[in-house]
Symmetry: C2
Subunit: 324 residues, 2 copies
Amino acid sequence: MKPNIHDVAKIAGVSSTTVSRVLNNRGYISEKTKERVYKAMEEINYFPNDLARSLFRKRTNLIGLIIPNSSNPFFGELAFHIESICTQKGYKLLLCNSLNRKDKEEKYLEMLIRNQVDGVIAVTFNRGILDYHKQNLPIVAIDHYLSNHIPVVGSDNYAGGKKATELLLGKGCKHIVHINGPLELETPANLRRKAYEDIMKEHGRQPVTYEVPFHQNYQECISRLFDEQPNADGIFASDDLIAAAVLTEAKKRGKDIPSRLKVIGYDGTETVQSLLPSLTTIQQPIQSISQKAIDILLKAVDGDFNDLPLETYLPVKVLEGETT
Amino acid sequence: MKPNIHDVAKIAGVSSTTVSRVLNNRGYISEKTKERVYKAMEEINYFPNDLARSLFRKRTNLIGLIIPNSSNPFFGELAFHIESICTQKGYKLLLCNSLNRKDKEEKYLEMLIRNQVDGVIAVTFNRGILDYHKQNLPIVAIDHYLSNHIPVVGSDNYAGGKKATELLLGKGCKHIVHINGPLELETPANLRRKAYEDIMKEHGRQPVTYEVPFHQNYQECISRLFDEQPNADGIFASDDLIAAAVLTEAKKRGKDIPSRLKVIGYDGTETVQSLLPSLTTIQQPIQSISQKAIDILLKAVDGDFNDLPLETYLPVKVLEGETT
DNA sequence: CTGAAAGCGCTTACAG
DNA sequence: CTGAAAGCGCTTACAG
């Protein structure tokens, strides 16, 4: 059996109250007692049970993270930064992969509530989440609107879409096509599309947006795009995986990049920079997003609901490779 | 305040014992009572506190996962599968990114112990972990030996190294160079190198292994390789990120692939398949590895230490692209 | 400077 | 079929 605080107390010859005080560095304890307690803890290899502590304190220092899929470079990197910052601040992270399925998100949320997490960071398309807000659970959303009460942190999607489009126009592209995820979803990612469309119109160009099915094999959709848009000389993909699929299709068709077709992606993760450094892309500041999301969440956890910024958009950066 | 079991009991007009019974579907309870209890729970939006439950049961259904970095496609994918399977089996996952630093691994391990996790899955190079085994904490290692008592699950690294080398030889390569991580680490990944060296010798070829620094910018090391090995016509990289860096360097130097240089990697994650589908690589069965690791861990958690397989190596697959 | 007691929110023998 | 009591391993007023 694992030793508990009473075992330590017995060996040190004090009460468990005193052991607890030593553990928490609270109140006055004589140096001698302290030493004896420490020695006893060492002797029997004692580690306090955080479950019991959390139960009493009504504070677990547990944060739940709900993302679609940590296999995806963007979310994997996000999870890394969020976990690292949490640890640094004394919080622990419960990882949840929702696959963007509403039923899974709901189950995860219930699990997190049962486990008494202090707060949740979520990347989700489903507004349903907000129903749980009556639980008084602090939530911060990343990159996707949830409700009017839940703070959102993300990259400046409009600026990103603008930069991407202007870059292609500046390189002389006349027929730029945009590829995006499902358009009916109310996400700031759609601001990338909005920016693209606005800029195109400003330049007297006709915007054309293709919609790829959600997190699936894009290849078919992209192949169709190549068939239907033989004049396309620029493609702005709303994420780097889509952009990579475009490059693959272009190669297959012998369409030289960047001379006959220029391609720009979005996200700019470390993984993409390693595996496909030639890709021009709009880089999201994943670490800053993580930092900001945690700052806001912890403020809410500490009961400071006053000036929670409801929308925070951090600046993006153009990473120019050889595909433009 | 969050409602507790007594609040439910009061509303339903029963004792908390009865509510607990309904919650756990245990013992005989009249249908009427059950209904009343369920209605009361719904009414006040009650969710049981798993902390209290775990404290009593001495079972948290919590698993700790220690990986170097979820940003890395291989570990991100591993985390995804492990989390998914855990959830499916009613377990929750605490994510820890160790950056392969021993001090971090130790801190994480202590944190996991304090949080009463039922078991730990770890990808680590540090044997120190085994010191904690006296805590009686079930641990399964992935891909790296920890000690004689800790089961390891991984891909068949020797077979992988063999297949990679034979593929290059079969394609007519005469001067094959291998690139691996730090060689002093006792890891099964070194079996990839061992296989490479064995096969080379079998074919009367001189093995040449380059060692890249740990999870750093490989580019410099690879550039040196190109300088020092101008005759190299085949490179077997011990992971896909290294292989990608080789491709980048070759491109920079105008060395055509695969005509003048053939390259094969290792891992074959979904991300690499999406971003760099042209890369020939040895694919690890990440899902099977995850499944197996969890099977073994849960067996140990359930106290069945009898026939825990100490070493499990799952078959790898050649994914042939255009770099060979 | 130190200890006895109550309580965090559950579950489980035990008794009826 | 249901309830009172004890206990999981802690922490914190309160008292001395």
